[in-house]
Structure formats: structure tokens, C-alpha cells
């Protein structure tokens, strides 16, 4: 009988046998993420789980390209010079990137201030440029982003709405295409993925002062779409196997086999996507690095959760349901 092969021979990892172990491991991984999120929510004035960028708070970011690497002590000097022209509490960050040839933009200095678009601070940007040129004579202003404070809070509102809507639509779609419990479990894994990505950037925010912008939300939504992809592929296999094997095997056996059958696909797909993403991260435009990083983290945790979270929880739920039916 070929059927028995389908179930028994293909186990690469026995997910179901060690399911509580995997869930515990996931839980442990989540702890630092949740801790960082709580830390930021309790210490920041706006109670956001992440350091928010100017897209959401309003403000101006001036980005300069400079020809040499900016040392830590230079940042202090730049700060003093900029504060001297009357800009309060500028946030100064530097990025260095390997370039292909000399004409590439390699070192970026970004200076974040309050919103400089209004009439009173018309010349501030020029003054900052002059102040920076004291130390870096060939500094070139390559990018300006300015967001008024009212627009900022509006963007934040829209963004949260988009995220919420995406979540709801996913659950509805999966509940409709599969079964309701699949929908809820998909939502749960989505939440888990979101916590991983947000937590990662919360930690990065605490230690490297990384602030998130609307591109980050784009990354989050992409990650949602992507990890739902992974989960759906696993669920699709479970659904198919359930249809034809449910009489001969328990749901846990079927789920275990399904995860194992899709394992090669899950890993290969993530690998190919990660190839392109890492290429973008290492060699792509310097201004979208964090955006790409967020997607990288999301793809990794998305694949992880489609293998280790979605199926395991489904098996627990199905077993509970089976017990209830038996009673």
C-alpha cells in the first residue's frame, strides 16, 4: 500500500511528538521581544511599542553623504555645531555601506530634528548644512524628509487601520476557504510573527535608536502576506490530506505528515526569497536597509511559525475537538 508510505516514511522532523517543546521554545524566543515592547511602551511618552520616526511624529530628517567614515567622537562635534545654530536635541545617526566603486554613496549622516517646514524655521536647514560642513567640507545634502505634526498622527492612524484591516481580511478569507479554527490559528501565528518583528525593531530601537517609518509598516504588511502564504501552504496540505486520509489516520498524524511533506517547499521558498532579500540588504539602496531587514526577519519567523506553530496548535485544537466529539 502506497498510503502507509505517505504517512510514516516521510518524517524528517517529528513535529507532533515534540510539539510542546517547540511551543515552549517559541515562547522563550518571544520573551525578549515582549519585554522590549513593554519597556518602550512604559518609557516612551507616546506609549508606542516602537521608536516612531518622523512619519508618525512629525519632524525633519536631513541626510548627507560624506566622503569619510564618521567616527563616534565626530558625532558629538556635529551635535555641538548643530545645537549652536539653535536646533534643539538633534538625533544624529550614521550609516556605512560597502560600495561597488568610488562614486557610490557610502557614508550617510542623517540628522533628525523637529519639523522644519514651517515659516519660522525656513533657514534652519541651510544653517544645519553649514554647521555640518565645518567638519565635513564636502558633505552633500542628498535627501530631505519632512512631515508636519498633524500629518504624522494621521499617517499613524491610517497605518494602524491598514494593519487591523489586513488581519481581519486574512482571518475571514482563511475561515471561508478552510475552516474557522484554521482562521483563528492563522491569526494567532500572524500575531506571533508581528510580535517577533516589532520586538526585533523595539530591541534595535533601544540599543541603536532605530526609529520606524511608514516603510516599516509596509514591511509588516508584506510579512503578513508572506507568512500567511507559508501557513496557507501547510494548511492546504492538511486540508487535502484530511479529505482523503481522515478515516485511516488521526488528525495529528495527518498534520505531522503534511508539515513534513511541505517542509522542503517551505525551506526552499524562504531560502530563495531570502537570497533576493539579502542581496537587497547588502547591495541595494542605502535608504531602504531597515525596510529590507524587517522583511528578512519577517520571512524567517514566518517560515518558522508555519512549521512549528500553525500545525502544532492545530493538532492540539483538533485533538480537543475529537475528544469532545467522542464524549
Amino acid at each position: 500500500m502506497a498510503n502507509t508510505n505517505l504517512i510514516k516514511n516521510n518524517y524528517k522532523i517529528d513535529i507532533i511528538k515534540f510539539r510542546y517543546l517547540f511551543l515552549a521554545f517559541t515562547g522563550i524566543l518571544l520573551i525578549p521581544c515582549i519585554a522590549a515592547i513593554i519597556y518602550l511602551m512604559s518609557t516612551q511618552a507616546n506609549h508606542a511599542p516602537l521608536k516612531l520616526g518622523i512619519d508618525f511624529t512629525g519632524g525633519t530628517i536631513l541626510q548627507y553623504s560624506v566622503d569619510k567614515k564618521v567616527a563616534t567622537e565626530d558625532i558629538g562635534k556635529i551635535r555641538t555645531n548643530i545645537e549652536a545654530v539653535g536646533v534643539k536635541n538633534p538625533v544624529i545617526q550614521t550609516t556605512t555601506q560597502a560600495g561597488i566603486d568610488n562614486s557610490d554613496v557610502k557614508n550617510l549622516v542623517s540628522i533628525r530634528t523637529t519639523f522644519l517646514g514651517d515659516k519660522e524655521s525656513k533657514d534652519k536647514a541651510n544653517q544645519i548644512t553649514q554647521a555640518l560642513k565645518k567638519d565635513f567640507s564636502n558633505a552633500e545634502l542628498v535627501q530631505v524628509n519632512s512631515v508636519g505634526p498633524t500629518l504624522g498622527s494621521e499617517l499613524l492612524k491610517n497605518t494602524l487601520m491598514a494593519l487591523g484591516l489586513a488581519f481581519i481580511l486574512m482571518v475571514i478569507y482563511i475561515s471561508f476557504r478552510f475552516q474557522v479554527e484554521y482562521g483563528w490559528i492563522a491569526l494567532l501565528t500572524l500575531f506571533q510573527n508581528a510580535i517577533f518583528v516589532v520586538g526585533f525593531f523595539a530591541i534595535k530601537g533601544i540599543f541603536f535608536d532605530t526609529a520606524v517609518d511608514s516603510l516599516f509598516i509596509t514591511a509588516m504588511l508584506t510579512v503578513i502576506g508572506y507568512s500567511i502564504n507559508d501557513t496557507i501552504v501547510v494548511f492546504d496540505r492538511i486540508r487535502e490530506n484530511m479529505r482523503f486520509l481522515a478515516k485511516k489516520h488521526s488528525s495529528s498524524e495527518i498534520i505531522n505528515a503534511s508539515i513534513n511533506q511541505t517542509l522542503a517547499r517551505s525551506i526552499n521558498t524562504s531560502s530563495t526569497t531570502l537570497f533576493t532579500l539579502f542581496a537587497l540588504y547588502l547591495f541595494g539602496g542605502s535608504t531602504i536597509k531597515d525596510f529590507v531587514l524587517a522583511i528578512i526577519v519577517g520571512v524567517i519567523v514566518g517560515t518558522y511559525s508555519s512549521i512549528f506553530t500553525a500545525g502544532t496548535i492545530l493538532s492540539i485544537v483538533k485533538e480537543k475537538m475529537a475528544k469532545k466529539d467522542a464524549q
Binding site: G148, L221, T276
Partner: protein, 436 residues
């Protein structure tokens, strides 16, 4: 078999015409790639104008368009966003400060008459003669001093108002205000009926650029309400070019790595998917140019991500085909059921991606929209490339032959088993994986 060949030539024809499109049509690149500024203006309410009506927005947009065009910097876009905002895109501009000043000025021209205020001092009061009554304005120079000045020509109504006003103010001063600032206050010697007037620059006169800017602003028309810049994104040309170069390199490396992996892991199947991927990329870029999609940095990221997803469809199919082969299906059946059974996965997962993209497109800011749009196009096209192109190629290559060399699929010979059992299975059942 004949149908398969026809389909093959259709695919080739689409690809060739796409290549043609790629050569003929220029790509439209976003501001973050060519350099330029994007400004968001918000109409401000005031006591005089408590509500921003669509009519006000129309005239605001008209005035802003005129101004932006007067700058003469190439293809600019002025677009209405929501009920009270305008998005202005100006490519290739480096000096944004100047642009901002030029765009943001309300350009209110007003003629005022002297009046006595409550506290007894002299002030100016409105006369009803404003910039709206102008026909046009020019830069001129005073015949005696050679100083630059702004020449005004009123329309019929304006000429009548001006004539009445000068008659009334004979022997008195008349003031000309521009944006609330007193420009000059000449003494009116006699009634002026010709409908012409000049603004001189007061002490020291106008600089030429000053006069020119005022003329441009007056000709473009005054803004009906104040407008404030609430968002600005400017990218210098250096960074733009840098981003283009880097994206190209990243894209090539990314695609190259994917192809090497696919060939190493799936052998002949991988090779097929590489060709499908190349066709996918060509058609995709042709669609970008035809729609046209303005390529931004995030848009390129969306495209590169969609490559990952296009490959995912192939991987799903190949894994399924290999599994079928392992279970002992003949090659032809294995390929067909590989596609049939992978289809629901591909479909469901792509629908979910398209759904998130639609949300992004609807709610997102312009940068985000570019990403969502390229990803939607990519995902939809990948359904075509994975299912039609890859399947067609596989059928043409393998036909209904037996699989003699499982290594070609990255399978070991001993993995293939029970080929005999599969042949016994009824076709409909085999399709759903039921073996009895």
C-alpha cells in the same frame, strides 16, 4: 501536443513583443531615483474662508500648477489628495528652498487707500482692487532711473476700479501691498484711465529676480487661500543614481543566486523555472512600462520580492511533481497532478498577498503605493508564468516520455517506487492522491 506548441509560440510572441516594449518605451522613474522634490500642501482655513470647498481647491490647484510650470523644470505633477491637500512632484530640482518659497507664497496683491485708525494713526484700508483684476504683469524698467519695476495691466473691470480709485485719491497716497507687505505708496497726481500701473521697489528698487518672481506669481494667479507645506521629500540626484545602480546590482545578484539554487536543487526542472523566470521578468518590466508604473526604490523592492514569490509557485509545483514521482506516477501524470495539486496552495496564498497589497495601495502614502502596485502586478503575473509558462515548457520537454533519469529532477533512483501500482489506479482517483 499541437495545442502545446501553439501555446509555446504565443508565449514566445508575448515575450518578444515585451522586449520590443522594453526597447521602445522609456521607463518612468520615481523621484527617489532621478532626484527631485515631493511637497504636500495643505489649504489653510481662515476667518475669511472657514471652509475649503472643491471650488477653492480647483482654483488653488490651478494657481499652483501655473506656478510650478513657471519654474520651467520639466515634467511636474500637481495632484489632489483628499479634500484639502495637493501633492506636487518636481523632478530634477536641487534647490528646494527656493521652490518651496515660490510655491507657498499666497501672492495677494492689494491696492489700499489711507484711513484713520481708532487711535488716530494712519493706516491702510482695502479698496476692493486686487490681483484678481489683473490681466497680466511684466517686468519693466523705469525710463529715468533704469530701476527694475513690475508693470501691471488691468482687465476691463480692474481698469475701471483703478480709474475710480485714482480719481478719488487725487493728491493723496495709494498703497500697493503684496502678501501683506507694503511695496510702494506712490502719490496719485491725477486720475489714471489707461488701466496700467507700476510697482516700484521703494528705496533701492527691486532686484531683477525679485521683480521677476513677483511677476511670475502675479501671472500665475493668487492662491485663494493660504497653503502650508506639511510634508516634503527631496532626494538629490547623486543618491537617486546611486539607488538605481545599487538596485540593479542587488537585483542581478539576487536573481543569480536564486537561479543557481534552483538549478542545483531541481536540476532540469530548475532550468525550466529559470527560463520561466527570465520571461517573467521581461513581461513584468514591459507591463511596468505600459501601465505605466513609476518605479521607485520601494517599487523595485516589491518587484524583487515578487520574484521570490514567483519562484515559490515553481517550488510548490516541483515539490509536488517530485512527490508524485516518488509515489510511482508516470512522468506525464506526475507533472499534471503536480500542477493541479499545487494550484490551490498557489491560488490561496497569492490571493492573500494581493489582499494585503490592495490594503497597502488604498491606505498607504505614495511610496507605499508603488511597492503595493509592483507586488500586485508581480503576483498576478507569477500565476501566469508559473502555471502556463513552466507547465508548457515541461510538457514540451518531457512530453509523454518515461522518466529514465530521475537525477534530472534531483531524485535518486531508489526513491522511485511502485510505479506499477500507480498505473492501476483510476485516473480521477489518482488526481486526488487516493491509491487503492
Amino acid at each position: 501536443m499541437k495545442n502545446k506548441l501553439i501555446l509555446f509560440w504565443i508565449i514566445i510572441a508575448i515575450t518578444v513583443s515585451s522586449i520590443f516594449v522594453l526597447y521602445k518605451k522609456p521607463a518612468s522613474l520615481g523621484l527617489d531615483l532621478v532626484g527631485g522634490s515631493r511637497l504636500m500642501l495643505e489649504a489653510q482655513t481662515s476667518k475669511a474662508v472657514p471652509n475649503i470647498t472643491p471650488e477653492i481647491m480647483d482654483s488653488l490647484q490651478y494657481a499652483i500648477e501655473n506656478r510650478v510650470n513657471a519654474m520651467g523644470v520639466g515634467e511636474t505633477i500637481v495632484q489632489r489628495i483628499g479634500t484639502k491637500r495637493l501633492l506636487i512632484e518636481i523632478p530634477n530640482i536641487t534647490d528646494t528652498a527656493k521652490a518651496k518659497e515660490f510655491i507657498g507664497q499666497t501672492a495677494q496683491l492689494e491696492f489700499k487707500r489711507p484711513a484713520i485708525a481708532f487711535d488716530g494713526s494712519t493706516t491702510w484700508e482695502s479698496t476692493g482692487l486686487t490681483g484678481k483684476d489683473l490681466r497680466k504683469s511684466l517686468v519693466g524698467s523705469a525710463p529715468t532711473t533704469g530701476e527694475w519695476m513690475v508693470e501691471l495691466e488691468f482687465n476691463n473691470e480692474g481698469a475701471k476700479k483703478f480709474s475710480d480709485l485714482t480719481k478719488e485719491l487725487q493728491g493723496k497716497q495709494m498703497a500697493i501691498f503684496f502678501n501683506g507687505e507694503l511695496q510702494s505708496a506712490p502719490r496719485v497726481n491725477e486720475q489714471i484711465t489707461g488701466g496700467r500701473a507700476q510697482i516700484t521697489g521703494g528705496e533701492g528698487g527691486f532686484e531683477y529676480t525679485e521683480a521677476k518672481q513677483m511677476v511670475d506669481l502675479l501671472n500665475a494667479g493668487a492662491l485663494p487661500v493660504g497653503a502650508e507645506i506639511i510634508q516634503e521629500e527631496s532626494v538629490g540626484p547623486t543618491l537617486g543614481q546611486d539607488s538605481i545602480n545599487k538596485s540593479k546590482i542587488a537585483g542581478l545578484i539576487g536573481i543569480g543566486a536564486v537561479m543557481i539554487f534552483m538549478i542545483a536543487y531541481y536540476r532540469v526542472l530548475g532550468l525550466v523555472s529559470c527560463f520561466a523566470l527570465i520571461i517573467y521578468a521581461i513581461i513584468n518590466f514591459a507591463i511596468f512600462k505600459l501601465v505605466p508604473v513609476t518605479l521607485t526604490l520601494t517599487g523595485i523592492a516589491g518587484f524583487i520580492l515578487s520574484i521570490g514569490m514567483a519562484i515559490d509557485a515553481n517550488i510548490l509545483i516541483f515539490e509536488r511533481t517530485k512527490e508524485e514521482l516518488r509515489m510511482g506516477r508516470t512522468l506525464f501524470t506526475a507533472i499534471n497532478s503536480g500542477f493541479d495539486r499545487a494550484f490551490t496552495s498557489i491560488f490561496d496564498s497569492n490571493v492573500s498577498t494581493v489582499m494585503t497589497c490592495l490594503i497597502l495601495y488604498y491606505f498607504g502614502a505614495s511610496l507605499v503605493k508603488g511597492f503595493a502596485l509592483t507586488l500586485i502586478i508581480g503576483v498576478c503575473l507569477s500565476m501566469f508564468s508559473a502555471i502556463t509558462v513552466t507547465k508548457n515548457f515541461m510538457h514540451l520537454i518531457f512530453g509523454s516520455k518515461e522518466l529514465k533519469y530521475p537525477q534530472l529532477f534531483g531524485l535518486r533512483k531508489e526513491e522511485i517506487q511502485n510505479a506499477y501500482v500507480a498505473k492501476e489506479t483510476k485516473r480521477e482517483k489518482a488526481k486526488f492522491g487516493v491509491l487503492d
